[in-house]
């Protein structure tokens, strides 16, 4: 065999060995298992509204004449706010151990086994296993916590009405959204803390939503907005939901806005 070919082959084998050693070294250094996608299971209870009085196709009758027990705390429930009248409206309740986390319940809705039956100027009537309880409003504490208790109202004025037609229009014309409102994520230490309203056009559907420039949307339907995914999940569902509740930070205080989709 020609010496040149022989030398070439020897060198080739040597380079092959070097290549193998290098790849083995890389194998030892590089990760052996794929990155497992972290599935963040959300333990926040889903914001669901169930109208039990219409669930089975008939309205349940409310007997307002039966005696009620007058207390300011039912089980772990405390009343944080209310609006509406005896037959229509919503109550804002919370767990006494965690009064910041509020839940809105409507008349006829069951929450922790209690059915909301009626709303009065300063209390609500709950019913459980035939017994009635009158739950009175808590006095807001003037402590350091900057939690704004939702306004008490005897009418439906606080409920902002949104129309399906508008939602469908903006869902199919996303550019029309950004002509009227500008929202940017607010990050702290690289993590999303909420979505800030950078700009909002006045006298538009968006300004009628009760949002103002500088507001930071931190929650939607009882879920913290910690990623784009959280926000997009709400966007995807918005055409199907009947009620949307968002919590905003305005001037350092939390404020809840409730929308009814018609």
């Amino acid at each position: 065999m020609n010496t040149t070919i022989k030398t070439f082959l020897v060198r080739l084998i040597f380079l092959g060995v070097v290549a193998k050693i290098l790849s083995l070294f890389m194998y030892l250094v590089l990760p052996k298992i794929p990155l497992k996608k972290e599935y963040n299971f959300d333990i926040t209870p889903q914001y669901i509204r169930v109208h039990f009085n219409t669930l089975f196709g008939k309205n349940s009758s409310v007997d307002m004449n039966s005696p009620a027990i007058y207390i300011t705390q039912v089980g772990d429930l405390v009343l944080k706010g209310l609006y509406g009248n005896q037959k229509h409206g919503y109550a804002i309740v919370a767990n006494k151990n965690n009064p910041i986390e509020t839940t809105i319940i409507s008349i006829g809705e069951v929450y922790q086994g209690y059915t909301l039956q009626a709303i009065y100027i300063d209390h609500i009537v709950l019913e459980k296993t035939g017994k009635k309880y009158s739950l009175y409003l808590q006095k807001p504490k003037n402590d350091h916590l900057s939690v704004q208790v939702p306004l008490q109202s005897s009418s439906n004025e606080d409920m902002i009405h949104v129309y399906h037609d508008d939602i469908s229009y903006y869902a199919s014309n996303p550019n029309a959204i950004w002509k009227n409102i500008s929202i940017r994520e607010l990050k702290k230490n690289g993590k999303i803390e909420g979505f800030k309203i950078v700009w909002i056009r006045q006298n538009t559907k968006f300004s009628q939503l009760g949002l103002k420039k500088g507001d930071i949307i931190i929650k939607a339907n009882n879920k913290r907005l910690k990623s784009y995914k959280d926000a997009i999940d709400i966007y995807k569902k918005v055409s199907k939901i009947k009620t949307l509740s968002i919590v905003i930070l305005r001037n350092g205080e939390e404020k809840e806005l409730v929308y009814e989709v018609e």
Binding site: T4, L12, L15, L30, P31, L35, S227, Y228, I232
Partner: protein, 177 residues
């Protein structure tokens, strides 16, 4: 001298090809996955198999900031170090894009080679039509030319407004990232 140069080049190419063959491609993919994670990009897949110069992936999904960008039924990465290609087949884009473009992409081919080390070129076709373009890695620029399908022209004409018509009548788009 010529002979020596030829031998040198021959051995160099041979070394590169042997090294590319032995390269632990699966582990390299896992490494890229980990490197992308801090940028909130997650590349997930159901199955991966390595053979020779290629790496085949089944049912892969790309997430950005937790949002699924696209799913791809089959993809293949071929690496010869000096010339690398990624073939993606049966891509379905996130339905968030359904108002802007048709979601189905049949094929997408991405090429990165020594012939153009500062650019990453691509071409593909799908319900939207045909696309070709490149990513300039230095200028951080994406440039593409779209040949829209009838469906794209009829149903997604609003998106086409964002594209620029050049002298040849082609629709082009430029984005600096």
């Amino acid at each position: 001298m010529v002979k020596k140069t030829l031998i040198f080049f021959g051995l160099s190419i041979a070394f590169i090809l042997i090294f590319a063959f032995f390269l632990p491609k699966k582990n390299l993919l896992y490494f890229i996955q980990k490197e992308l994670y801090p940028s909130h990009i997650v590349f997930d897949f159901k199955q991966v198999s390595e053979s020779g110069y290629s790496l085949k992936l089944q049912e892969s999904i790309l997430y950005f900031e937790g949002v699924d960008v696209f799913t791809c039924k089959r993809s293949e990465i071929r690496t010869y170090l000096l010339y690398n290609t990624i073939f993606l087949k049966n891509i379905v884009l996130s339905d968030l894009a359904k108002e802007f473009i048709p979601l189905k992409v049949d094929n997408l081919k991405i090429i990165y080679g020594i012939h153009s080390p500062l650019q990453l070129s691509f071409n593909g076709n799908g319900d939207f039509g045909t696309v070709k373009g490149y990513v300039d890695l230095v200028q951080k620029k994406l440039f593409l030319i779209l040949y829209p399908s009838v469906k794209m022209k009829k149903k997604y004409y609003k998106t086409l407004r964002y594209l620029h018509k050049n002298k040849q009548g082609e629709l082009s788009y430029e984005y600096n990232y």
